[in-house]
């Protein structure tokens, strides 16, 4: 990766930010202009993300395309290189950037259907995307956290204004839980900066600094819970099913698909990379939380009848696998965790896209109300089944690759937990297959004869996500190479 790719990394978050500002200047009536601008911007983000992912050379140094611009230094608490705008990617950030690029494009397409304050919606959505991209490529702790919070900030209005079912409640619950979780991250960041004593927020310097093991053990859980809340970590996931159920389609897609990964990414960046001894100490707790979340989410999903709530709990379960993989402390398991972040991202985005495409027509998401939908909406059903099969880990699809890595890692570290993890996969298969049988097959319910096939924009978006699912499932090595080399190089104490 050439040093000039740093400008492309800047572009990943400056494009959405600039688009948001540009949209403010466009009159709300000019729908075609809004659609044109967002089409262009989302396509550009997708292409850049793909280029950055492909160009990351896993045989090269850990951080590539690093470039720093001095922002503030030598004043007050800040020493040399105090706060810099510093970008760069490692093999963990690369797939996350790609994931964001893949999800935002269909997310933009399906949002063109909105007619209520469309412009404001895109401004907030792109602000969120800017925050997400920025967090993934940022190598300065101050900007990392600034952009992390930027990704959370627009959620309240996005859900409260454009959402459905109990939207104000869902929005407020989500916002307050996420911001409350940030309290822990804030505190941990201050402690890390003070303990490192370098006067800089430069992340690579902070990775290399020495921290007292006791301090690491105190502050790792703060980061794990603070970021974990955004990652839907059990038992701090309360905002997630309600938030997802009430959010509009594109927001659910981005939120479950990308924003929750920001949480897990934060645990890796701030937890594992800065405080490795703390992480090693608390790894068994991550295993416990991970397996509990996986089981709890899967069992709860069994009981849900609202499609979105089911997907929401299924997300809690799948994110449980991520924490399980991280807790194994071996490269296979942790690679699986990052793979799962990607796999769950594209899969769940596809789920929410399809649920939204149906709900916009039917205004109903209750599974028992549907049957034989495959006859009325075959294309929709095919995509839905593909996402479902990826979710339950069918070989050849993305979920399988990720879960296989995690299971291997867990069996190596904690064989009994590995058994429970496989049980979870079985429960996942149960609720998904049962839902397919109930909703897609069987006798067609004539109440839904007015429903149409999903729109062309939705089909195209679903196709993009489906291609991602298939590519990772059939040709996982580009992902595995990047992730596993970075993990093995950078996290001390992680066994091969």
């Amino acid at each position: 990766m050439s040093p000039n790719d740093a400008y492309l990394m800047l572009a990943t978050f400056l494009i959405p930010l600039g688009t948001a500002v540009l949209l403010m200047l466009v009159p709300s009536k000019e729908r075609s202009a809004i659609i044109g601008i967002t089409a262009l911007a989302s396509f550009a983000m997708f292409v850049i993300a793909l280029y950055l992912f492909v160009n990351y050379d896993f045989e090269g140094p850990q951080f590539q395309g690093v470039k720093a611009w001095t922002w503030m230094e030598n004043a007050g608490v800040l020493g040399e290189r105090g706060i810099q705008l510093k970008v760069g990617m490692d093999g963990i950030a690369a797939p996350m950037v790609l994931l964001t690029g893949i999800v935002i494009m269909p997310g933009t397409w399906v949002s063109w259907k909105l007619h209520h304050r469309t412009k404001d919606f895109f401004i907030l959505l792109y602000l969120l995307v800017a925050g997400v991209f920025g967090t993934f490529v940022m190598l300065d702790l101050f900007f990392f956290f600034l952009l992390y919070e930027t990704a959370v900030l627009p959620m309240y209005l996005l859900i409260a204004v454009w959402g459905s079912t109990r939207k104000e409640y869902g929005a407020m619950k989500l916002m307050m839980m996420l911001v409350a979780a940030s309290i822990l991250i804030f505190t941990a960041i201050f402690a890390i900066f003070t303990e490192a004593g370098l006067g800089t927020f430069d992340l690579p310097s902070l990775f290399a600094a020495d921290y007292d093991p006791r301090m690491q053990k105190i502050f790792f859980p703060m980061i794990a819970i603070g970021c974990g809340t955004l990652g839907g970590m059990f038992p701090f996931h309360g905002w997630s099913p309600d938030g997802h159920a009430s959010a509009p389609t594109a927001v659910s897609m981005l939120h479950a698909g990308v924003l929750m990964k920001l949480g897990a990414f934060g645990i890796i960046r701030l937890g594992f990379q800065i405080l490795p001894e703390g992480a090693a100490f608390w790894a068994p707790a991550l295993i416990f939380i991970g397996i509990t979340a996986a089981l709890y989410g899967a069992i709860s999903a069994l009981r849900q009848t609202d499609l979105k709530l089911m997907t929401g709990f299924s997300s809690v379960s799948h994110m449980g696998y991520v924490f399980l993989g991280l807790g194994t402390l071996n490269v296979v398991g942790m690679t699986g965790a990052v793979l799962q972040m990607f796999a769950h991202g594209v899969m769940t985005a596809l789920f929410f896209l399809l649920i939204g495409g149906m709900y916009d027509q039917a205004h109903n998401r209750d599974i028992p109300n549907f049957s034989g939908m495959a006859k009325q909406m075959p294309i929709w059903a095919i995509f839905f089944i593909l996402a479902g099969l990826a979710s339950l880990g069918l070989p050849g699809l993305s979920g399988f690759v990720a879960e296989l890595h995690i299971f291997v890692g867990v069996f190596r570290a904690y064989p009994i937990v590995g058994g429970l993890a496989v049980l979870t996969a079985a429960i996942t298969a149960t609720y998904l297959l049962r839902m397919f049988a109930a909703a897609f097959f069987g006798e067609f319910n004539p109440r839904w004869s007015h429903l149409h096939e999903i729109t062309w924009a939705e089909r195209a978006g679903a196709a993009v996500l489906a291609i991602a699912i298939l590519t990772l499932g059939l040709w996982p090595s580009p992902w595995v190479d990047r992730i596993s080399t970075t993990l093995a190089q950078t996290i001390p104490g992680v066994a091969l």
């Binding site: 503030m72 800040l78 007619h115 209005l157 204004v161 201050f190």
Partner: protein, 497 residues
Amino acid sequence: MSDLNFDYTLLIPELILAAAAGFVLLADAFRRELRLNRTLLPGFTVLAAAAAGLSSLAWLDTTDDFATLLAVDNFTAFFRVLFAVTLVTVVIGSYEFVAREIRHQGEFYAMLLLATLGASVMAAAQELLTAYIGVELLSFSLYVAVSLAKRDTRSGEAGLKYVLLGGVASATLLYGLSLIYGAAGSTSYAEIGEAFAAGTANVELPLVLGLVLVIAGLGFKISAVPFHMWTPDAYEGAPLPVTAILSATSKAGAIALLLRLFSGPLLPVKDDWQWMLAVIALATMVVGNLIALQQTNIKRLLAYSSIGQVGYMLMALATVSDASASALLLHLGGYTVTNLAVFMAVIAFYNRQRSEAIADFRGLAETNPYLAFVIAAGLFSLSGMPLLAGFTTKFILFQAAAQDGYLWLVSIAVVMSTISLYYYLQVIRLMYVREPDGAPTPDPQTGRLDRPNLRWRTSPASYAVTALLLLGTIAIGLYAAPLLEAADDAAAVLFPT
């Protein structure tokens, strides 16, 4: 003080303010005879404030003093500019408001000028009595300004309450200062510092008593808990522009005075007062933010939220180091800009809707999207959300306090800052999620509706002022380096290395 050939040029900014106040009063008295244009008084006030602010830049990076009573250095310049900016914005942003809602406009503008003068003296003072005169000049001007609202009985009540309680606080402060004088044997900051550095064993009791009284008296001025009781009533009763000055100039002046006092003459006895400030900081941030949760009037909400903000600033005062002093000045700058943005937007709202009830902000995003955006951005900034001034300045402020060993207090401050988001979100929810009065709900199928045109526009003056303040809020949020460097230069005066 042997030399009587004082360099009066050092006081040019203050002299400009004083002369302008006198001119405004006289011009107002003869306005009928002279057939004065009604824009003359505010226009002249703005010019005077701008001249005072600009002329104070002449002493950047120099250190001089006026007969050891007033110091003229980067610290003073920082505050002179801050106060000038505040006055200019408030006068421009509230021009229409004043024309309609204020009795005795001449007195109003003169009082604002004198309040600014008092605050400058507080920031520059190098001697206890001079500081006290600054405090009283600021306070008396504001006592009058608070009660100048037309047709609003709350205004007189607020003025009376403020003057009575303020009088008690001033007496407390004066008593405290006299005890410190007794303990140190001098009123000059430099000599007090030397006296205390030499040992305080035999004056411990009057010293501690004096510190308690000084903190109580100045705590009243910055509305620190438990001396905050007057704040909500005074804020609510005062005309909006005066509320803005109360929350900006008055607080910043007292903070400047505290900073000079505690980082200089009282630094040697820091063990005696550090815990007091920490406890007050804790109480202030907790009480301010919790009571704010229940407010229904936007001015009272902002009053309690400003109490909460003072809590964060007191935390930095308690940790007293050059890093936390510069962070405090940075935060003060960011807070002033953000807070003024909110106040000027609320004034623009009031000009049109004649209401201060939070419930009346319902649907503002439909009726005036620009103003709703300014208020939302300002409130998000006050709660410390990113891309805005509040995030960056709080981040640096909290980091500085954490670095000085107050991580426990910082973690509580972060919790309180999160709670503050909840009540700010209530206002934002009303503006963005609710429909305005008289608007039909959109058709759920198509989202289209034929709504009556409820849009209204902000006046050009309000528009310009709020836009500038909004840009300032965003600029500080994204690139705080210039302000941080200015703050650092100002703080460096207090902690010479």
